[in-house]
């Protein structure tokens, strides 16, 4: 193994530095009625990429604000059309929603492709080669099966998404391979299921108490107290568990994503832990609320630093041997549509 070397990912940005950038972004976005948001997005991403170092070299974000602005305006026009239609012609709004649903695979693929092509490391761009057909299966067909299969499709869906995104990534000319299996995804979702079962059990226990009280002919008030007690505790627990479970899923999915991905001679070692992520999310949420949002820049930096600190790249002694692929242009329309319509495509 003397030929491989471990390269820890580093994040060198400080919260205070980002705070000023963030506040100026908001200010200029406000006075320009949102037009500056394209510049703001590019500046933010350039800052985050430019502070993410691997082997002493930073990542670069290459999109220009004009590309983002164009995509954003097209997407916004669609959104305004939808809102206007839902006020004036609900039927047309329904059709627009259907069109958006049908366009999903295209939006997903072009969003992932734009994001990849605008990301570079050591002067070489990334690319994404996922096909529309596969995207249609993963982002339309499988999600539709969630209800009929009572959620049993979820592990498989997550596995296919990870495989789709990781396996179709290309760095320069080198295509990534995803060699993970479905089994560990079952582990993640079974744990999530068991955790979410807890509040249901408590609610069920409340109902069992009612049954007992009624069977013994005790007063009605006791039954009501038992029911509200069980329901209340169960519901509170349910809402508390949602962020915990989603942080758990996120941490484990990130690990499954990186640890089974191989780009040529380069592999990854991701060691995110659910409890760390839960702590970061919850404490960020509390601090953001306490500071009326002013903590947001530090919250984002904390998360970026945690992610970087828990990712190690193992590769050859020299990372300078990758070769460039063909350069292709890309439009930001799909990516911005995904943003504007709040579609959740990425993994993190």
């Amino acid at each position: 193994m003397s030929n491989t070397k471990q390269y820890p990912m580093q994040f060198t940005g400080a919260g205070g530095e980002y705070f000023v950038i963030w506040i100026v972004n908001i200010a200029l976005t406000l006075v320009t009625l949102g037009i500056y948001s394209a510049w703001a997005k590019v500046r933010t991403l350039r800052w985050f990429y430019g502070h993410t170092l691997l082997d002493g070299q930073a990542f670069s974000y290459l999109a220009t604000p004009m590309q983002i602005l164009k995509g954003r305006l097209i997407a916004l026009a669609g959104l305004v059309a939808y809102y206007a239609a839902s006020y004036f012609l609900p039927l047309l709004a329904g059709l627009l929603l259907l069109a958006l649903f049908i366009a999903m695979p295209w939006i997903v693929v072009s969003s992932l492709r734009f994001h990849a092509r605008m990301s570079a490391y050591r002067g070489l761009r990334f690319d994404f080669t996922g096909k529309l057909g596969e995207a249609a299966i993963i982002y339309i067909l499988l999600p539709l099966l969630t209800l009929p299969t009572l959620g049993l499709i979820l592990p498989y869906l997550a596995y296919r998404q990870v495989k789709f995104i990781a396996g179709n990534t290309v760095y320069g000319q080198t295509a990534a391979r995803y060699e993970g299996s479905l089994k560990p995804f079952w582990g993640v979702y079974l744990l999530a299921f068991v955790l979410m079962l807890l509040p249901l059990v408590i609610i069920g226990y409340g109902f069992y108490q009612i049954y007992l009280i009624k069977a013994q002919g005790l007063p009605e008030e006791l039954a009501i107290a038992a029911a509200t007690g069980g329901l209340g505790i169960g519901l509170i627990l349910f809402y508390l568990l949602i962020p915990v479970v989603s942080a758990m899923i996120m941490a484990r999915t990130a690990n499954l994503f990186y640890n089974a991905t191989q780009i040529g001679p380069v592999g990854f070692l991701s060691s995110q832990r659910a409890r760390d992520l839960i702590w970061i999310y919850l404490s960020n949420l509390v601090l953001i609320a306490l500071t009326v949002g002013l903590f947001i820049p530090w919250a984002k930096v904390r998360l970026a630093r945690y992610r970087a600190n828990h990712l190690v790249v193992s590769g050859p002694q020299d990372l300078g041997q990758f070769v460039a692929g063909q350069q292709q242009g890309s439009s930001a329309t799909g990516a911005e549509m995904a943003d504007v319509f709040d579609l959740n495509i990425g993994l993190t």
Partner: protein
């Protein structure tokens, strides 16, 4: 300019070539092992620097120069032609005080725009939109309400006809906007009345039952006619679209957690809009009642009773304090 260190990438492979670059007589010189570039400034492209993040300089032929020397990059950006708006941003980011001042000024500008700009634009739009469209929106929303919150009226037909006739008679004697009066039962709205786009005025059974005199119902109808006259429902719809579009554009970048917080001011502004509209409709009702020779205190009477009736939603409650609203109707002289 002092020389700065960086890494040169040729864009063909991922190999880094350590170099030293300097600005010299309008040209960028890049020197390293087996590398000696001399590029005129108009052939290089610099991504405007952001904070202390690594910067990227594009050279001809797909070559890239990366450097972490923020000061040198800023100096280079200054020497380059071009007027990217990011230059402004970079200057503002230079001092925390500038940044915060910029934020405060822009918040004031946007709030003023949302509070006064959007309603003004909506008013202009409401009066330029074809009436056909307005009628259509009205019938769509009526259909929706009939599905979810309105039932056929249980008032005796004679009572409905009597009230309809009284209003029609008054509207023969003085100018009223075109309207259509409907009686509906609604457990959800309680005692209430509302004006839909296109001139449909709905009065609930509970309101009629709450009244102690027909003139009280007429006074409420006059208030709703005020809403119709000023096209308030259409303006509200347009305003929420306008404010929504602006807020989406602005908050798109701030982050999803803050969306809730960003939505809050828009809600407050909404209630501000409708408060202005209530005042406008009240003013119309007062004039209408005086012309119709109905004592304006009738409106104050039923308003006072509505205030004591529990009902959460609707157009009549949750508006400027009803005591404050009733005041002009109490002091106004009868005809």
């Amino acid at each position: 300019m002092t020389p700065f260190a960086g890494d040169l990438f040729d864009g063909l492979t991922s190999r880094a070539h350590p170099v030293v670059a300097r600005l010299e007589a309008g040209r960028l010189r890049v020197d390293g092992e087996e590398i000696a570039l001399d590029v005129p400034l108009d052939q290089i492209e610099l991504a405007p620097p952001v904070g202390a993040a690594r910067g990227l300089i594009r050279l001809p032929g797909g070559q890239e120069l990366h450097s972490g020397d923020a000061a040198a990059l800023a100096e280079l950006a200054h020497a380059l032609p071009g007027h990217s708006p990011e230059r402004w941003a970079y200057r503002l980011e230079g001092r925390l005080l500038y940044a915060i001042a910029a934020l405060i000024v822009s918040i004031i500008v946007v709030f003023a725009g949302l509070r006064w700009g959007v309603p003004a634009a909506a008013q202009v739009a409401a009066h330029t939109l074809p009436p056909v469209l307005e009628t259509r929106i009205g019938s769509e929303s009526l259909a929706l309400m009939e599905k979810f919150s309105l039932e056929p009226s249980k008032l005796p037909a004679a009572r409905q006809q009597a009230l309809t006739r009284q209003l029609a008679e008054h509207c023969r004697r003085q100018a009223c906007p075109p309207y259509r009066l409907l009686f509906r039962n609604s457990p959800m709205f309680g005692p209430n009345a509302m004006a839909l786009p296109g001139g449909t005025v709905i009065v609930t059974d509970a309101l009629v039952k709450l009244s102690r005199h027909d003139e009280e119902v007429l006074a409420v109808m006059a208030h709703e006619l005020g809403h119709v006259r000023h096209r308030h429902s259409l303006r509200l719809a347009l305003q929420s679209i306008g404010a929504g579009a602006i807020l989406v554009a602005i908050t798109g970048d701030i982050g999803s957690i803050t969306d809730i917080a960003a939505g809050l001011p828009s809600l407050l502004l909404q209630s501000g809009y409708s408060r202005d509209m209530e005042r406008e409709a009240d003013a119309y009702a007062l004039g209408w009642l005086q012309t119709a020779c109905i004592p304006p205190s009738r409106f104050a009477d039923i308003l006072g009773r509505l205030d004591r009736t529990p009902s959460d939603t609707g157009l009549l409650d949750s508006h400027p304090g009803s005591r404050e609203r009733a005041q002009p109707f109490r002091v106004a002289p009868d005809c």
